[in-house]
């Protein structure tokens, strides 16, 4: 069972569905060789594995203290001494990226959890709660959609004040409505499927059908969504940090590093390029992995 199987895909939106920017159909059009298939799994696993390790034990991977100031070495370009160069205070960029994995990924993971959790509640209520609840949830989602992406996050931050906690909730809120619609569509499609009819004819109760057929079949696509959402949430959270609304400056958080590097863009491109590359790698790995999972589910 996959997200696209029931036609809930961007090119075939359930009336009024606005898909999150990255949820794309993953119909394999070409016979892909064993090599590309291997790459499709190996690339995300290696990238995410590396950053997961960096999250747990950054000291194993990082040669320098991420906060150690060394003005003599300021603005060293990438080279043998400092693999990815240094920033305006002579701090090692590579070590900062390694140490930055923890705040960046944890913020992303927490935001995804909040977004998916909220989406799961809204989507399930809309999918199973009957016509009125469905319409009510639809209205709520319509309002959330009217402030797309960062706009909703910014309005929330304007009310609650900037900070890491706010960022997590804001990003969760931003991603929730898209997922909620997808989950609802998934559940509605499952609810109407001949599988449910067959189970009814076999004498299963509604509750039994919900727990043995509907929810388990809806879970696999939600895992795919979660993987995809992680990459997106890391990007959103970094965007907010970049705009100066997330983690405060000295912390080695990726978005904040980029924001700091912006001032020296013409002087030290590596200060901006490499933290951004880390974000791109994580987001791309999450996208590729979620697609592999989706296809694996399709068989």
């Amino acid at each position: 069972m996959s997200i696209t199987e029931h036609g809930i895909s961007p090119e075939n939106p359930v009336p009024g569905v606005h898909p999150p920017a990255t949820l794309q159909p993953s119909t394999p059009r070409t016979p892909t060789g064993a090599l590309t298939r291997w790459l499709r799994l190996a690339f995300p696993v290696l990238v995410l594995g590396f950053f997961a390790l960096a999250t747990i034990v950054p000291s194993w991977l990082a040669p320098f203290d991420p906060l150690a100031i060394n003005p003599v070495d300021a603005f060293s370009p990438p080279g043998p001494g400092h693999l990815l160069g240094t920033d305006e205070s002579g701090r090692d960029i590579y070590s900062r990226i390694i140490y930055g994995a923890r705040p960046s990924l944890l913020i992303g993971a927490a935001a995804t959890a909040i977004g998916l959790g909220l989406a799961l509640v809204l989507g399930t209520v809309a999918g199973f709660g009957g016509r009125w609840l469905d319409a009510g949830v639809g209205r709520i989602l319509e309002v959330l959609f009217a402030l797309p992406g960062l706009l909703l996050a910014l309005v929330f931050i304007a009310l609650a004040g900037p900070g890491v906690g706010t960022t997590v909730v804001a990003v969760g809120l931003t991603t929730a409505p898209g997922y909620a619609r997808l989950i609802r569509g998934q559940l509605v499609a499952l609810r109407e499927s001949p599988m449910v009819e067959a189970a009814t004819v076999l004498g299963r109760s509604r509750a039994k059908i919900l727990f043995t057929h509907l929810l388990p079949n809806a879970l696999a696509p939600i895992a795919v969504l979660g993987t995809l959402g992680l990459g997106q949430a890391v990007v959103w959270a970094a965007s907010l940090s970049f705009l100066g609304l997330g983690a405060p400056p000295p912390a080695p958080e990726w978005g904040a590093m980029l924001s700091a590097g912006r001032t020296y863009l013409s002087l030290a491109w590596w200060m901006t390029f490499f933290p951004g590359l880390a974000i791109v790698l994580v987001a791309a790995a999450a996208t590729v992995l979620s697609r592999a999972l989706n296809q694996g589910g399709e068989k």
């Binding site: 319509e142 705009l243 901006t272």
Partner: protein
């Protein structure tokens, strides 16, 4: 059991159109009301003095007079219901209040900001459309190379944040090559990088969706029928596949426009370009609530209008919708 004949077109079309317009307006008003209400109660749910929050939080060190002024402006000494309804009434009559950071009416500020943001978003949407169609067509016509290109764009669109893409483009075209200004000036050259930053990821996404739809059309039975009539590959592409490819693009344009408004926040601040997004950011940083409310309401209204347009465009492009 579906009857094979399509149901006859309803005869009361004008009436239906009126209902449709009324429904859209009703939905739009509801959205605006909900946004205004959420912000109104949001401020008051935050612990502390709402006047303080309106003035930018405890850190703003607002003077006692300013706080008193805010209390009077917002009628904070009155019962909550009175405050709420008078606030709604003010908003409904177009009075968005005065910006605390800029000290001028919010409506006036917004009037200045809409054209630049709209220019940016519309241009980016057009460029993304053209690129997406080009990518889709190329991937159909050129086999493996086109597919690799399309697939690469797809991943990029999913993974590359606007702020990083903007930085890379500036490094490349301004710092290194010196072709384009790193700051958005009033000249057309100043628009190139901001538009490219917004358009590229969107093009990747739209291109992917259009490519799938185009490939479906290209391998469909009706394309085979056309070829069997003697139609050339270019003819199949032009007369059949292109139109099918455009459909999902049109359907997603409302959503795409929303994502462009969101992206404008980042792009406008990186390229120091005046506009809604950048003003929202500075209003958020200054916690200028009247300004935030104004931009939020305006964005929501824009989004509602764009979605309605996109709906109409979809119906025009796909005659199948609305006949059922």
């Amino acid at each position: 059991m579906t009857p094979k004949t399509a149901p006859p077109r309803s005869t009361d079309r004008p009436l239906k159109a009126v209902y449709w317009v009324l429904g859209k307006i009703g939905g739009g008003v509801f959205v605006l009301w909900a946004v205004a209400t959420a912000i109104f109660f949001g401020i008051r749910m935050i612990p502390g003095d709402p006047a303080q929050a309106i003035m930018g939080g405890p850190g703003s060190q607002a003077s006692a007079e300013a706080l008193a002024q805010a209390r009077a402006d917002y009628g904070l000494d009155q019962p909550l219901a009175v405050q709420y309804f008078s606030q709604l009434w003010r908003l409904a009559t177009g009075d968005l209040g005065t910006s605390y950071s800029l000290k001028i009416p919010v409506a006036e500020v917004l009037r200045e900001l809409v054209p630049p943001t709209l220019t940016l978003a519309v241009l980016a949407l057009l460029v993304a459309w053209v690129l997406a169609l080009a990518v889709a067509t190329a991937s159909i016509r050129s086999g493996a190379v086109g597919r690799a290109l399309a697939s690469g764009l797809e991943i990029i669109s999913a993974a590359v944040p606007h702020f990083w893409l903007a930085s890379v483009l500036i490094m490349l075209f301004s710092t290194t090559l010196g072709w384009l200004p790193p700051v958005s000036t009033q000249t057309p050259a100043g628009l190139v990088l901001p538009v490219a930053t917004l358009a590229l990821p969107l093009a990747g996404f739209l291109g992917q969706v259009m490519r799938d739809s185009m490939l479906d059309a290209h391998t469909s039975s009706f394309a085979l029928s056309a070829r069997a009539r003697g139609e050339s590959e270019n003819g199949v592409l032009l007369r059949h596949a292109l139109r099918h490819a455009a459909l999902p693009g049109i359907a997603l344009s409302g959503w795409a426009f929303g994502s462009l408004l969101s992206g404008a926040v980042v792009v406008e601040s990186i390229f120091a370009r005046p506009g809604l997004g950048r003003s929202l950011l500075s209003a958020v940083t200054a916690r200028d609530i009247p300004m935030v409310t104004g931009v939020a309401l305006l964005s929501a209204a824009t989004y509602v209008v764009i979605m309605a347009f996109s709906d109409v465009a979809e119906r025009l492009a796909d005659p199948r919708i609305g006949t059922a």
